[in-house]
Symmetry: C2
Subunit: 436 residues, 2 copies
């Protein structure tokens, strides 16, 4: 561990936790550790909780239990649970046993939920009140808690004696309301909520669609156990969007530009092998026409154009479909409509591109036959690309796989195989009947 | 216009505005118009403001000024401005002249800002107070406004007599505070803010990074003119992410699965032509080796594998880089580090894939020379793919173009051209020295 100089430390002290985390992530483990242990606990903890999980994990593992117990209680339970979730079960238990019992219990319940569920993304910091309290009594309560309650609070949740949710009051309405009114008269009873096991992606979609500011999380018995905040849900929506982008091209797990190459390798290479297997399928199709190519080499020159145009058009379709699926904007009936739209586009694009390719083919190799074959193949290829751009994500979904998963790999397989088959097949036919 | 039956209308009345918008979007224009005009104004306006702009535009254009003037004042100014922004300038002016002057002025100032700027995404509904007021006085003020102020309010903004921002008080702190305290003692003076001209993408990044709940928007003179809310900023971040995904494959403008094919065509076909031009570059490279292929046709069979592997590996790199660029997580120094990482990955991936391709090539065509050429070309191609995956987005950025813009088209051009050149070049060499 290397200690930072006072000047550097001074600089770190002034940083926003998110910026502190950025700096820590870019430092050698030793130096990051040194900075963390020299900062005030609260600052260090805030910085740690803003770090990317991969880097935070390394740092946490390098710290002693003693040191961790120093920071952790400064954070809200859900953030402690997120950090503990990076450690081995054994070490988790060890640390939980040393945390103050009132914290440990809350963190243990949060750790029990799946990371991708409402339980995994909710906070257990919320204010629950009863319907028979007056506005004034609530305000007094809040005022007394004012010093300790640092969390952002937009809503008060109204529960009955069994802690079941009965209503909600936006905190701003307390401010606007007459002091002697009863909470029960003020509260909205028709409260949107999520269940503790609900999937985070679905929750994120609901926040995007309905613009909620926060949603209460209920357990199986209807008891209030936490809240999901809009900012957290919307950041998940953003992460899911970029994850889709990565999944499409065969990148599993969140990879960043500076993720070490050896970690990236394990995530990329398997998909490249999948791609290789599918590329051999395309090569096999070309192989079927080896003798055709041997007698008409100009055909080989057009292979990249067939593959390139099919792949690009298919990716356009695929991207549009996956985006709408991710946003939950596609009803079952929409799939058929989208298929028709894409088929029409495929025909029109195909004709528009086929004519150009045909004319260039004719002119370049002075062969009207080549132009005709290339042009016609382009039309068929564009239609195949459009259809597979719709059918592949729907197919993956039907198999209960994320529709984005490696979809570009499957797509280019279809466009290559179909494209080469149409093009070389037509070439073989032309060769038999017209050429020479 | 067709009038909805009372039963259907009943059903629409119960819908959340976001769901109402979904339904309206899926209806024929006539029917949508009928529903809209039969609903209570407030409901109709809320539904209209939730619709996708393309569909909303059609609907707005089909309504008379009279009808629009009926709905519009039910919405907050920023939403009215967004809707008016869809109409021609002439019609905008016409409608603004007929709106109550106190609304018209606010909307006019909002319309003056660029859509992508802070001014374009902010709301002008905020509560400004003075530092010399007491907590009690503020609460009384809020209470009096309670009935009319329906907007979500999380912060009170403290301004001086010139309306310059001097501080901010979270509304929940008013609740927690002693009634006789002065706002000036309570407020935070170190307020983060944005300028009215700041770009929405940059603002979205700041919300993601710092987890703000809202940011005040200041004009050139430091006067408070609006606020940007976290939910709006984070939805923009999400939209930008999906937009990047679309831009990468050559889709300009937000296209949805159900965007009519004729609108989609104009956005997709130009990029397909760009792709065609670049595909001809690759074809030209293949053409350089026509005689090589004529004497060694097996080479043609491996062209799809060269193109496929290069394209997929390059897309993996490209996607990682564009994601980090979009999130503003790449400092200038990171570019060099990323390049080195990708170069290493390219070599390792290349060797791992090259060996497999080489062995299959040898076995399939019973030609160790083919295996050697294909394997070696694969290594070089993977390195080229890795480097261009980094250099293309950085290059686009350097030219002040969105780094995502059609980047997959440029990338596959490089991987095709380089891949074919390496592969066929090595093939030509091998043909000259070893084969036959």
């Amino acid at each position: 561990m290397s200690e930072p100089t006072p000047v550097i430390l001074e600089e770190f002290l002034k940083l926003h936790p998110a910026d502190l985390a950025d700096r820590l992530q870019r430092m050698e483990l030793d130096d990051a550790q040194g900075v963390l242990l020299s900062l005030p606990r609260r600052k260090a903890a805030a910085g740690l909780s803003e770090m990317e999980f991969e880097k935070a994990e390394e740092l946490l593992e390098s710290l002693t239990d003693e040191q961790l117990i120093g920071f952790l209680p400064e954070l809200p339970h859900n953030e402690i649970a997120d950090l503990l979730g990076l450690l081995t079960l054994g070490r988790q238990r060890q640390l939980l046993d040393r945390l103050p019992p009132e914290h440990a219990q809350g963190i243990r319940s949060l750790l029990a939920y799946s990371e991708d569920s409402a339980g995994g993304i909710m906070t257990d910091r919320f204010i629950a009140i009863h319907g028979d309290q007056t506005v004034q009594a609530c305000m007094d309560l809040l005022r007394r808690r004012g010093g300790t309650e640092r969390e952002d609070v937009s809503y008060l949740y109204v529960v009955d004696r069994a802690h079941k949710l009965t209503g909600v009051v936006p905190i701003r309405e307390l401010v606007f309301a007459q002091p002697d009114r009863l909470i029960a008269d003020l509260m909205r009873r028709d409260v949107a909520f999520v269940r503790v096991d609900d999937d985070q992606e679905e929750i994120a979609r609901r926040f995007e669609h309905y613009h909620y500011l926060g949603l209460p999380v209920l357990d199986r018995h209807g008891r209030l156990v936490g809240i999901v905040k809009a900012t957290d849900a919307l950041e998940i929506a953003r992460e899911e969007a970029t994850e889709d982008m990565q999944l499409m091209v065969g990148l599993s797990g969140e990879e960043r530009a500076l993720t070490p190459w050896n970690k990236a390798l394990g995530r990329r290479l398997p998909w490249l092998y999948v791609n290789l297997a599918t590329a051999f399928l395309a090569a096999f199709v070309v192989g079927l026409f080896e003798s055709t190519i041997a007698s008409w080499t100009a055909l080989a020159i057009f292979l990249p154009i067939v593959a390139g145009q099919g792949g690009n058009a298919g990716m356009q379709t695929l991207t549009v479909i996956i985006r709408d699926m991710a946003l939950g904007e596609l009803t079952p009936g929409d799939g058929r409509k989208a298929l028709i739209k894409e088929a029409v586009l495929g025909v029109v694009n195909g004709i528009a591109i086929g004519i150009v390719v045909g004319l260039i083919g004719w002119w370049w190799k002075d062969s009207p036959e080549l132009g005709l074959v290339a042009g016609a193949a382009m039309v068929l290829n564009q239609i195949a690309a459009a259809l597979s751009g719709v059918l592949i994500p729907f197919g993956l979904k039907w198999f209960k796989v994320d529709p984005a998963m490696a979809s570009s790999i499957f797509l280019t397989t279809v466009t290559d195989v179909a494209g080469f088959f149409f093009f070389l097949g037509l070439g073989a036919l032309a060769l038999k009947h017209f050429v020479n």
